[in-house]
């Protein structure tokens, strides 16, 4: 039977959650990782572009070699393009193999306190207890997805969100605020006019392959967006950089106004998610909520952007949670 008591519980298995869980078990903590869907573990749901993954450990760099498609230089350093399928496969197996880590698929619907410890309640009725919990629920609280005329529940298109968790957090004095994240469209290679694109070959940076390129496309104000292949086969490209430019009800028209994409066929439309995040000013540099012992947040739920930042926060929160004085 699954233990109901742990040293640490991590809620959410996105980038922040997986790094938090990995860090915690490496420090020897008995950890529970709870997620609404184990199929989306480590999912790069906001575009397969990792800016500055310098935080990857040597082990991760080795293990993720095959997931890295290539990198280009950008103002802030480098942008690394990842094959999400391989990336997820690596993390799924890594975590399933980790000692001291218990994984459970269920939606977290609330937090509570019992005898000074934190408690989480799941949708199917289980309760788990721990001295510290790290919430890495991303964009899934009070979440609404929007693309085109579609406006419906969900933390990402097709995936269920939770409003119950947010309510219990507010009951404990946590302040939440509305926020919004956007992801770009994924486009079929077939309709792209390559002649209008500027090819940017990968640089040899990460310990991965460097053959291949991304493409830059201009909008009508001559700003550049990037079209990145989502895997080595190159059948589909992710349009990065245009996420916040367009209203979701004009998303398709926006893509078609880009130079060379007039005949592009969109596979997955870009989308926005309105969700509840932690109001600013509530967490310390260690990701801990002021005034609430043992409660930590990491990742997009804190209002941050970028996987790099999410992974940094996940590691920081785990280090603080595990080594804290009880």
């Amino acid at each position: 039977m699954l233990s109901r008591k742990y040293d640490l519980i991590v809620v959410g298995a996105g980038i922040a959650g997986i790094h938090a869980a990995k860090t915690a078990v490496r420090m020897g903590a008995e950890t529970l990782l709870v997620t609404a869907s184990w199929d989306t573990v480590g999912c790069l749901g906001w575009g397969p572009v990792y800016e500055n993954p310098h935080l990857w450990s040597a082990e991760e760099k080795r293990g993720l070699k095959k997931a890295v498609l290539g990198a280009i230089e950008i103002e802030a350093g480098s942008a690394v393009f990842i094959d999400n399928y391989i990336h997820q496969g690596y993390w799924k197996y890594q975590l399933e193999s980790a000692e001291k880590l218990t994984i459970f698929q269920d939606m977290c619907e609330g937090v509570g306190k019992l005898n000074g410890e934190w408690l989480i309640k799941t949708r199917w009725g289980l309760e788990f207890q721990a001295g510290a919990i790290i919430l890495t629920v991303g964009t899934f609280m009070r979440a609404r997805v929007r693309f085109g005329a579609h406006s419906g529940d969900g933390g990402r298109p097709g995936e269920t969100g939770s409003s119950a968790l947010a309510d219990t957090l507010v009951d404990h004095g946590v302040e939440l605020r509305g926020s919004c994240n956007a992801a770009g469209a994924t486009i079929h290679a077939k309709g792209i006019n390559w002649g209008r694109m500027v090819e940017v070959p990968y640089i040899a940076q990460c310990a991965g392959q460097s053959t291949g390129s991304v493409f830059q496309v201009k909008d009508d104000q001559s700003r550049l967006h990037t079209l990145a292949p989502i895997n080595r086969r190159g059948e589909c490209f992710y349009l990065a950089g245009a996420e916040n430019e367009n209203r979701e009800d004009q998303a398709e028209e926006y893509v078609h106004r880009l130079d060379g994409l007039q005949a592009a066929e969109i596979m997955k439309p870009g989308f926005r998610v309105d969700f509840a995040r932690l109001a600013p000013g509530q967490i310390s540099s260690e990701q801990k909520v002021a005034g609430l012992e043992g409660l930590y947040f990491a990742g997009r739920v804190c209002g941050s952007a970028g996987y790099d930042e999410s992974s940094r926060q996940g590691r920081t929160a785990a280090k603080a949670a595990v080594s804290r004085e009880t």
Binding site: S37, Y93, E96, T102, G125, G152, E159, R233, E235
Partner: protein, 619 residues
């Protein structure tokens, strides 16, 4: 409407049915749109991570023979393969493969993305409308609209889906995924009737917490075969093992003690579940004398520590699931990673379909897969293939492809769906096929590749291969007929005739203790492929039975050829009331099909024959 929004065929759903439908229609030259609610879950396996099995293996071989994709994809993503019932007769032997689920899905998606004439989009269809002039329209939740001549609805368990564990219910199509109400509403507004079914899946456990020493290893076949007739010979034999354990008395005690919490007893799921894929709670109640039930522990992929517990399907509350698992040898310390759950969903009553899987009342609307009340990826894929082929033929204005019950398991499947009362999820078995000796997994290519080739779905190269196999079998039979084996023949002691006159090799082969490999040198069959030799052997050994089945098929054909025009059954007073109702409901295409409808007796068939004769002679 803008030119780019018009298609020949729209396929709604990219599960096993949707993928086959889309690929078939595109390969037949149609412009196809596939709308998937989640493009990262193409051809997903939400339940058993396996393809094939009894009855299902035959379906996969037939799908492959007709040019479908399932066989090829599983060959490239399997972790184990074996032939079930290899010690029994050829009619019940079937291949079964464990799949690397993630890899299967990725490969099928790659095939879709690489298919000329096919466009995949992510979106949820919320309305289906009939436009004028033989066109249909599908509207998506994001506001986009597409029109087509044919629409194939293959939405699986997502229609008004509800997830159930114990007493708790939550809307959803699968764990973590949103359900959809749009299609149900769309179909109802088109005048179609829906029913409600439920399907459940067992919990998954982490491999590191399982004690395999208490279980029996279930390896794959030593010489692994392929599913697809077109896959290259398997060279490497790298396979993962499955394991077998059993429930214990303690397991049954736990279930009985908590049976009031089972959704079956507590009534929280009023929908019907699959009789042949029952939950462990249902098994324990229905078979109280069984001391133990088998539990097959199956890996879900290569680099994957999740294990699927086949035989422990349940949607009892999670604590009870854990208690049940604990009592099974080898699983006493097993950690559940994903709890089991049930999903209740709308399905379309399939008597509303023609044998082409086109709706009886809405021209150009086809439905395929779990939406028609079936369970199983193979059953879904088979329907998807037929629906896709017929959607394409509909666009061309040609007669649809209808396989008869004597041509394939696919024929049996579709005929059963449109004639029987489907009041629980339908699953294929060899016992459903009355002609199973003729419809074998090993001869699907001979039976169906010519049809696939005619449709343009099977390559010339594949067709040459099949023709060669047919010629080889004929050559082999000819040699067996002509070669006499006398006493002292050098083929080895068990084969040599002890005394008496020389005997035809064919007659010698009829003996149960003789197999064709033993006599192949004497009869000079070395130049003929092993597969062809095997086929010839079956023909010889089962000659009598095969002839009987072929005769039955001929007799049945005569009834099938008697087509039924539009008849006002209510006006035929000599028919029983029930027959009148059922015939009006199912609208059978032939007298043979009418005979199979539950509630239509042989006496009613005689009445119809008299009626048809009267119509024909105008009296």
């Amino acid at each position: 409407m803008m030119e780019k929004q018009q298609y020949d065929v729209i396929v709604i759903g990219a599960g096993h049915a949707g993928c086959e439908a889309a690929l078939a229609a595109a390969r037949m030259g149609r412009k196809v749109l596939v709308a998937a609610i989640n493009v990262d879950k193409i051809a997903h396996m939400p339940c058993n991570p396996a393809i094939g099995g009894i009855g299902k293996g035959q379906l996969v071989r037939e799908i492959d023979a007709l040019g479908g994709e399932m066989g090829r994809v599983i060959d490239r993503s399997l972790v184990q393969i074996k032939i079930l019932n290899s010690s029994k007769g050829p009619a019940v032997q079937a291949p079964r493969a464990q799949a690397d689920k993630r890899e299967y899905s990725r490969l099928m998606k790659t095939v879709l993305l690489g298919q000329e004439g096919l466009r995949l989009i992510q979106g949820e269809v919320v309305a289906i409308r009939q436009l004028g002039g033989g066109r249909l329209e599908a509207a998506l939740s994001d506001g986009s609209q597409f029109s087509a001549t044919a629409i194939v609805v293959a939405t699986g368990t997502f229609m008004r889906g509800e997830l159930v564990v114990g007493q708790k219910k939550v809307a959803g199509g699968r764990a973590g995924e949103l359900a959809s109400a749009g299609i149900s509403i769309a179909l109802e507004s088109l005048g179609l009737r829906l029913g409600r079914f439920q399907s459940a899946t067992p919990p998954r456990v982490l491999a590191l917490s399982v004690d395999f020493s208490k279980m029996k290893v279930q390896p794959g076949d030593r010489t692994p075969i392929n599913f697809s007739f077109s896959s290259p010979t398997r060279i490497k034999n790298r396979q993962r093992d499955c394991y077998l354990t059993y429930t214990s008395e303690k397991t049954h005690e736990v279930i009985k003690k908590h049976i009031h919490l089972s959704p079956i007893k507590s009534g929280s799921v009023s929908a019907r579940g699959p009789r042949y894929c029952p939950s462990i709670d249902r098994k324990v109640i229905n078979f109280p004398d069984r001391e133990r039930h088998p539990v097959f522990v199956e890996p879900e992929g290569w680099k994957n520590h999740e294990l699927y517990l086949q035989g422990l399907t349940t949607s009892m509350p999670v604590e009870i699931q854990e208690m049940i698992i604990q009592t099974v040898p080898g699983l006493s310390a097993a950690k559940v990673i994903r709890p089991g759950y049930a999903v209740a969903y709308d399905y379309l009553l399939p008597h509303q379909l023609k044998s082409s899987l086109e709706s009886l009342s809405v021209a150009g609307l086809f439905t395929a897969g779990q939406i028609n009340g079936t369970s199983g990826y193979e059953e879904a894929a088979a329907q998807g293939l037929i629906a896709g082929i017929n959607a394409a033929l509909h666009c061309r204005g040609e007669t649809p492809l209808v396989l008869s019950r004597s041509e394939g398991y696919i024929g049996v499947l579709v005929d059963d769906l449109v004639t029987k009362e489907i009041d629980e999820p339908y699953r294929m078995f060899t016992s459903r096929a009355e002609h199973r000796l003729v419809l074998r997994a090993d001869n699907a290519d001979l039976r169906l590749a010519p049809i696939g080739h005619r449709l343009g779905l099977v390559s010339d190269k594949m067709m040459l291969q099949v023709s060669k196999k047919a010629r080889d079998i004929a050559r082999c039979l000819d040699k067996l007929e002509k070669r006499l084996i006398g006493p002292g023949a050098s083929a080895g002691a068990p084969v040599a005739q002890k005394k008496g006159a020389a005997v035809k090799a064919r007659d010698l082969l009829k003996r149960p203790e003789i197999n064709i490999e033993q006599i192949k040198d004497v009869v000079k069959l070395g130049g003929i492929s092993k597969d062809a030799r095997h086929q010839a052997e079956i023909e010889v050994k089962y000659q009598g039975y095969i002839k009987r089945q072929l005769d039955q098929i001929e007799a049945q054909k005569r009834l099938e050829l008697l087509g039924l025009p539009e008849i006002d059954f209510a006006s035929i007073e000599a028919l029983s009331t029930e027959a009148r109702q059922k015939l009006a409901r199912h609208k059978p295409a032939s007298l043979g099909q009418a005979a199979r409808i539950a509630g239509v007796s042989p006496a009613d068939i005689s009445v119809l024959m008299v009626y048809l004769e009267k119509c024909r002679t105008g009296s």
